[in-house]
Amino acid sequence: MTAAAVHLTADEQRMLEGADGPAVALAMRVLIELAKASGAEDFIPITRAHVVGCFYTGQAGVDFAQRLIDLKAQVRVPTTLNTGWLNLRNEGPRAERPIAAAARLLMDLYAQMGCAQTWTCAPYYLPERPAYGETIAWGETNAVAFANSVLGARTNRFADFTDICAAIAGRAPRCGLYLDENRLAEIVIQVDKLPFDVLDHDACYHLLGHIVGRLAGDRVPAIDGLPPDVDEDRLRAIVSIAALTGSLKMMHVVGRTPEAADLDAATGGRQIAEVHSITLDDLTSAREILTGPGTGRLSAVCVGTPHLSLPEFKQLAERFAGRHVHPGTVCYVSAGRFVHEAAQRLGYVGEVERAGVTVITDTCTYYSGYLDDVEGTVVTNSAKWAFYAPPNIRVDVRLATLDECVDSAVRGEVVADDQFWRVIAA
């Protein structure tokens, strides 16, 4: 069985033949294989890229980046970089290990290709975020889902190798979420049974996202019944965990997200056969799944997965003001460099650092060695962290509200007294 040929423009044909250099030709060869395997008939120009291949997963990733550098690769569109394996600014606990050298080299190779050293999993907080309808090529599961859902930009989910090839060629196979028809909702998830005081709590959106991902799988859901002014941080909480429990790349929130002025707009006017209704019981069971057996002993508090937004940084600074992290524990907050600098100017970084919080940029606590020696339970407000960390670094985790995270850090013990949990368990 052979794939249908991919149609190339005259320019693309010349790129494939090496007119723009051997690196562009290599990128085109890989993208043509991706296009064939994805059922794309041709390519679409992209305006920017976000690359995840800069995270070290093995020597092959380094070999590929080195090969591109040897061929003098440069990105053709503005390109940002996802988190790396280590914190370049303050190399942290694993800097002495042999693979740290390879991880650092890999990050350096991507910088040499002309990518901006953003090192963040939240590229939508960088200046000049993608516009509605803009065609981009992003990697990183949460960023892809945020761009499609909240910004109305268009991207498929790029991964190692294909992300940098799209950046070098300035092209992506035209398929998937670049096409109008694939952006319409296929299932409806109603949340009108959830009381207002539950929907008014940040933690609700982490639990909701866990459920949405499981129900939607790789389909596009329309969530109906959320408040029309639900903020970006809450939408982000939904997509960042739903991208892991399912492989969500786009959702609509009726009356809130840009392609869902009403339910008809989200579905394209089609009748949707599969409709789910979320109950308080669903939220409670999601919380149970996301919370480990628990030893009761606090080892660390981790906030900022995906990397913190500026409003979240402000909330954290307000809650830590005048308090101090207990000497028997550690509290890590992860943010991108850009948000970190803005938070510095606004005094948030000073406030949390005076409280004894450790602020980390460039990487994430669930793979960078910060928690290698901890024993006991990690408290986090992020469903994504709670989902990812146990298999990655074998820690026990408890999903908590932001207030509980701060109280746990200050008291040096697992605090789980938020009214929210009683409300959803009622």
Partner: protein, 130 residues
């Protein structure tokens, strides 16, 4: 590409999706995910039949790593196009000069390929590859 007599491969069929990143020992080619039905089997040199559906996107890197260290499957067999696997083959070819052989087969052939059986790659395709 398989070399020598290698148009015949022993079949290893994955009956459930495998997250290669967590579940495959790249150095030995052994499936080390204890929860996986094929735990303990080696993929190296086999006709590896993958289950349908989109695998983890990290599987691409792991497959390229197996090519690098020489523990790759002899041929990967799928029933439908799979960007994860086909990109791995393209990238391995670019950096190591030899790919990962990927074959898309008919539904009937796909279903007949059970672990332990022999798979003979169609000669015509083998001759046209590299």
């Amino acid at each position: 590409m398989a070399v020598g007599s290698a148009n015949t491969f022993e079949v290893l069929r994955l009956t459930e999706p495998l997250n290669f990143w967590a579940g495959l020992d790249i150095a030995t080619g052994e499936i080390v995910d204890r929860q996986h039905p094929q735990h303990g089997q080696r993929v190296t040199g086999k006709a590896l039949v993958l289950p349908p559906g989109e695998g983890s996107s990290s599987n691409t890197s792991v497959l390229v790593e197996t090519v690098r260290v020489g523990t790759a499957p002899g041929v990967v067999i799928i029933q439908q196009h799979d960007p994860i696997v086909e990109v791995a083959a393209a990238v391995a070819r670019e950096i190591y000069g030899h790919g990962l052989d990927v074959l898309i087969v008919s539904r009937q052939t796909y279903e007949e390929l059970q672990t332990g059986a022999s798979f003979v790659r169609p000669v015509e395709r083998a001759a046209s590859e590299e």
